[in-house]
Amino acid sequence: MSDTQERIAEFVTNNSVFLFMKGTRTMPQCGFSARAIAVLEHIGTEYNTFDVLSDPEIRQGVKDYASWPTIPQLYVNGEFVGGSDIVMQMFESGELSTLINNDAS
């Protein structure tokens, strides 16, 4: 694994709920990232984020890591959960709260 892929693996395994996003939780730089933050805030879970705009290698690296072409990307306990559409869909169905509250406690 490359250094970048190892860094990503560390982020997602050392934090039970982790979001790669554009911008920060207080200042998202993209509507899709803002939606993901809104969902996490609503669920009320603890989470950490990484701003991919601050690091071009991570920005490309997470796309390779999850075979997923877009940002944001949500991980729970090291597992890729989805991008903003899936996060929203799983939030609406209640699946996301269940996943986070069962796995991340």
């Binding site: 899709f32 997923w68 989805g82 903003s84 899936i86 799983m90």
Partner: protein, 84 residues
Amino acid sequence: MFEASRIREILEAGLPDCTAVVEDDLGDGEHFSAIVTSSAFEGLNLVKQHQLVYGALGDLMKKEIHALALRTLTPEQWAARSGQ
């Protein structure tokens, strides 16, 4: 600048039993939303369903398509949604 109708054609050609409804949300040829139905989605989780769509679009996701809000449905879910 990319046409929503072109995205629909690519998806319907690339996925089995596929119906795609694609809209150019901002009219800018870069930000799209799509509802995609395919029998290939049956039995797959949402991540794998979306990966099939991204796979069909290939390199378009890297450049031409800046954003694609995506909802995937199996034919059964589509029928239920359409009230048929």
